[in-house]
Symmetry: C2
Subunit: 186 residues, 2 copies
DNA sequence: GTCTATAGGACGATAGAC
DNA sequence: GTCTATCGTCCTATAGAC
């Protein structure tokens, strides 16, 4: 999983070589294929692995700055969570794993092509995030879907700039400033 | 150029096949290589072609809604141009060429890898855009670089969402709403 | 300026031994 | 569960005829 994440982040799924993955694992290519079946199977395995890992870690990160974690938070669903705080927690977590952020950035763009094996996965993911943000935004504005899309756009854009120049840009600070523009006037 | 843009947009530079490009041009692979020398040469040719094309077209688009085009605008430099109007003109133009937007989105992310042949090109491009936006933002805020980065982030993010679901999202409208959040309180 | 022919390799995947 | 051997295909690039 780890090796595959790095290699896809570097060259995309189309540029990924099973040979390179196998080499990093100390396996031969047929040895690797024994587990994942095919190259697409490897991609699916990585995405599922990331989903589990991220769901787990986000809950930890949400609570890490709080003295007491409300019950609703630990239940997994984002209901009742403050939207601005949820975004900040996400960015705080992402600031510590640039390679993972880059993996998703590469796949998200590559999968705009309907023929990409992760096309449906990212379409669904995007819809899910926007609609759950919109649910939380209902309390803040009369156009919650619009605000949700703006937040997602800004998060994606800020992360992209941070990835391009991690030395100059502090992801957490940059997001805090952007959040002020988005949430400040509400 | 046209064929290459579409194919890179679909599969990235690493996924691009000279054979596919040659086929679409009605050429053989050596026939294509005669002009561009190598696969990297083809990429460079495309980027240079887009630079010329976009510089030309942006000036037209900037003036298209105005009765009179001020002299400074036609001189090429963005000095004196209203920043918000410049962004709107860019988005208006991009709304008409989704394939080109997707080409740049794919290459921009793919080239985060320092080993990518377009890495330096996109690093320079990014720096140039941010600093020219920041110059225009000086009149609007006391933190012009920050505003410039926020604008670029939001433009990139909005375009990404639009590319993923062009039927639901109107790029120009979506940007207008986002611009209100960024410029409205200044 | 465009072609045929070909070099020389990497690719994903399968078959079958151990 | 991991290997060797191999298939058939694709890849970029070069050499050289026309």
């Amino acid at each position: 999983m780890e090796a595959t994440c790095e290699l896809i982040a570097d060259c995309g799924f189309w540029g990924l070589s099973m040979q390179d993955v196998a080499d990093r694992c100390g396996l031969t290519v047929p040895g690797l294929l024994h587990y994942v079946g095919s190259k697409v199977g490897l991609l699916v395995a990585v995405l599922e692995h990331r989903d589990r890992e991220d769901a787990k870690a986000l809950r930890v990160h949400l609570g890490v700055d709080e003295e007491h974690v409300p019950d609703e938070w630990s239940d997994g669903g984002p209901e009742g969570v403050d939207l601005r705080r949820l975004c900040a927690a996400t960015m705080r977590r992402n600031a510590g794993q640039p390679e993972i952020v880059r993996l998703f950035a590469v796949l998200a763009v590559e999968s705009l092509n309907p023929g990409h094996p992760a096309h449906d996965y990212f379409a669904a993911r995007q819809a899910r995030v926007v609609s759950s943000f919109a649910a939380l935004a209902k309390q803040l504005t009369d156009r919650p879907e619009l605000l949700a899309r703006q937040i997602v756009s800004m998060m994606d854009g800020v992360q992209l700039q941070w990835l391009r120049d991690p030395g100059t840009i502090d992801l957490v600070q940059e997001w805090e400033a952007a959040a002020e523009a988005l949430f400040g006037r509400l």
